[in-house]
């Protein structure tokens, strides 16, 4: 296969698989939530209710796409796209297997962090452009929450970078050939997991949406496929964070017997299920609790983790040097 064809196949393959997985997650989430709440969930449309996804899509595409007259039209239209696009761009740097993966950047990790920071714009602009109280409150909450959790999300990953000695995600996976980073970097793993949940605005950190307080938060005024894009963006975010945890802490495609793609998918799937389990079990914290938890506990923890890792790495290097 020519390099161009291989590249195109990779690009569209990852795009199609990610988008269809995001659609399938609607079904998976509803079924799993139901399972953990002793219910069945959607099981009528098609086998196991799988065609529910199709029905939902037809419904959301044929819904009235309404823009409130008081909204800031261009920003209102762009905001949902920003969320989906930034997450999709981050997915481009995820190394699925040695052969699959859209691009291999030498600053892949930084690119992922940058894109997830840009994703904040989507939420904030959506809240701002809607020009309604609840949307604005949701947008502000999202901005504060995602900015504060981004700080130690990046810091928690620096331990991994120190050990692997590279920002390149493929090099990081390759460095986990013998030992997954979840063992030496367990603190970093835990902090990144929590920050990742906050970053995707999923329960228990769904304060920007907070149905019980803010109607639907930043997307109160959205309808039709624009609303759908927020959902697709959220589910893509779940996939992305799960894939990143797999890549950074669980050795990516490494694993015995099974082919690399299967290992990658199994690990990612396990974390997606964990995200849904979180949603099924934990209540939403108060806003000040969220902030205090982030700044007073997770930030010092990740800083401590970073300094200890750095000290250990320097120590090992010096011993090797002598």
């Amino acid at each position: 296969m020519s390099p161009l064809a291989h590249g195109l196949l990779n690009v569209f393959g990852v795009l199609v698989v990610a988008l269809s997985l995001a659609a399938g997650l609607i079904w998976l989430e509803r079924r799993l939530l139901a399972l953990w709440q002793d219910r069945y969930g959607p099981n009528r449309v098609g086998p196991f209710g799988l065609l529910q996804v199709l029905a939902d899509m037809i419904k959301i595409f044929t819904k009235e796409d309404w823009i409130p007259p008081f909204a800031d039209r261009p920003v209102f239209v762009i905001a949902p796209a920003v969320i989906a696009v930034t997450v999709l761009l981050s997915l481009a740097v995820v190394p699925v297997t040695p052969a699959i993966g859209v691009v291999s950047l030498n600053i892949g990790l930084l690119f992922f962090l940058a894109m997830s920071s840009l994703g904040v714009y989507g939420v904030v602009l959506a809240g701002w452009a809607s020009d309604s109280k609840y949307s604005l409150l949701g947008g502000l909450r999202a901005a504060a929450q995602m900015l504060s959790y981004e700080v130690f999300m990046g810091l928690s990953l620096m331990g991994v970078v120190l050990i692997a000695g590279s920002f390149d995600l493929r090099a990081i996976v390759a460095a986990q050939d013998r030992l997954w980073f979840v063992i030496p970097q367990f603190v970093g793993f835990a902090v990144f997991l929590i920050a990742g949940v906050a970053e995707t605005r999923r329960l228990p950190f769904d304060l920007p949406e907070a149905e019980s307080e803010l109607v639907a938060g930043f997307h109160s005024e959205y309808s039709g496929m624009k609303f759908g894009l927020f959902f697709v963006g959220e589910y893509l975010g779940v996939i992305l964070i799960s894939a990143m945890i797999t890549t950074l802490f669980l050795g990516g495609w490494h694993g015995p017997w099974l082919p690399p793609i299967v290992w990658f998918l199994i690990k990612t799937f396990a974390f997606i299920c964990f995200f849904i389990l979180l949603r099924a079990s934990l209540p939403r914290p108060r806003y000040d609790q969220l902030m205090a938890y982030g700044w007073k506990l997770l930030l010092p923890l990740s800083l401590l983790n970073l300094s200890v890792t750095a000290a250990v790495v320097i120590g090992i290097h010096q011993r090797r040097g002598h």
């Binding site: 399972l35 953990w36 709440q37 389990l277 934990l282």
Partner: protein, 171 residues
Amino acid sequence: MLSQLRTLWLVFLHMFRRRVTVQYPEKKAYLPPRWRGRIILSRDPDGGERCVACYLCAVACPVDCIALQATEDEHGRRYPDFFRINFSRCIFCGYCEEACPTYAIQLTPDYEMGEYHRKSLVYEKEDLLISGPGKYPGYNFYRVAGLAIGGKDKGEAENERPPVDVRTLLP
């Protein structure tokens, strides 16, 4: 933090619990015999209508969904000329059943009354009448009541003594 982890674990364990959902159209939930559902008009064991058109059910009905017209046959038995229940109004409170002196009107354990047109929810007497005695087998109002009707004079009802002749002094 430990409490959160414990919560996660407990919710995870729910995976292995029995699901409480009843898969409705295939499986139906058990309804107790005294369930207050679709209203019927029962017949006495001899096959006659039990309803004596006393209007007590219509009076008791808090949403006024029962309409009927009393009439009499050649034997002097009262019965409803028409009997109409508007189920789009009915709240299945069961007051009509409580008010009924002849056990004619009864609520049954049936709730599957879905219709596409609102008018189809207005049940006439022929829709309401069932062929049996419902919850009270063997009860026949005219056979135990002291009322004289054609074919049954005073004192001929069950457990009824002959009428006392108030104008005689004999014991």
